[in-house]
Symmetry: C2
Subunit: 190 residues, 2 copies
């Protein structure tokens, strides 16, 4: 692919991601995507022959990899479980605040409005959630936290739920409450 | 209003609620609602002059009142905090399972895909979440659980997040994990 083609492709995924984060799967139309990416409609099908669903799947994969990457870089830097979890909630609060609570988690958006009728996207969401849970489980197990598998699952749910409630309330307090609860559960003191 | 009119109105809210729970705000069209309610399009504006957004707000209010009612009836029956929380997660798991993971929480759906661009619906979502949090806070405080305000907020987030993740995974395990974590937090043993 040419450099220009790669840039167009990236811009299309960027635009799709932002739209899904704000308006969900059904609120994201191809016209919005091409307008957001400043790309002609024809180039959308050139880069993504599967159309909207291929673009959405690419956007979900990117979110999945980004959040896993954030976790792994914190862990590789030697952070303990409490520090990693605190950083995750602080990062989410900062993102929500900087978007004026307009954009949330793309995985939750698609899980809520498209997964029931779209098995391929449902599987994408499930795969991303499991990838996050596994990294958290490994971190908790490394630090000797009891019940790392179940607790990692609960942390993923808390991250997703607190983001939803924070958007509804236009307030980062749900993330602060979730952060405090998780730190208590893993026995961290900060 | 005539009895027939009241029934039509109720059917329209029923249909709207089911659609939002499955496909979100943007995936719910007026044609879907009138088809789901077996009602003519004209009667929609007769009963809901504000159109789709008035119907959606009515659906959100109903979900809000139903869940608060479930909590209050459990509390009035003398249940302790652990029993109430366990019953909530069990109820959600049973609902998800019986719908084949197709329908989730309408409040989360609207918070995720419409709240950013629709202040009235954003406020509806915020009001419902706060009403749930307050009932839970009163229950936790009555039972002497420490930090009832923050913990109640975290429980609302866990309920919402675990439902989202369970839908993505088509598995009630996230609700079981959330249930166990909340029972641990409130010091219940079961």
């Amino acid at each position: 692919m040419t450099t220009k083609g790669a840039r167009t492709r990236t811009r299309m995924i960027d635009a799709t991601l932002e739209l899904i984060q704000t308006r969900g799967y059904h609120g994201t139309g191809l016209a919005h995507i091409t307008a957001g990416a400043a790309a002609p409609r024809g180039s959308l099908y050139f880069h993504f022959p599967g159309g909207k669903d291929e673009l959405v799947a690419a956007a979900l994969d990117r979110v999945g990899a980004e959040f896993t990457g954030l976790l792994e870089s914190l862990i590789a830097g030697g952070a303990d479980a409490g520090t990693v979890v605190a950083a995750v909630f602080d990062d989410l609060a900062a993102r929500l605040d900087s978007s004026g609570f307009a954009t949330g988690c793309a995985i939750a958006s698609v899980a809520v409005d498209a997964a029931a009728e779209n098995p391929a996207l449902q599987e994408s969401c499930a795969r991303v959630y499991e990838s996050w849970r596994v990294v958290l489980e490994q971190l908790l197990a490394r630090d000797g936290v009891p019940n790392p598998a179940g607790l990692a699952g609960a942390i993923v749910s808390l991250v997703e739920g607190a983001t939803v409630v924070a958007r509804a309330r236009r307030d980062t307090q749900p993330l602060d409450e979730a952060r405090a609860v998780v730190l208590e559960l893993i026995g961290a003191t900060r």
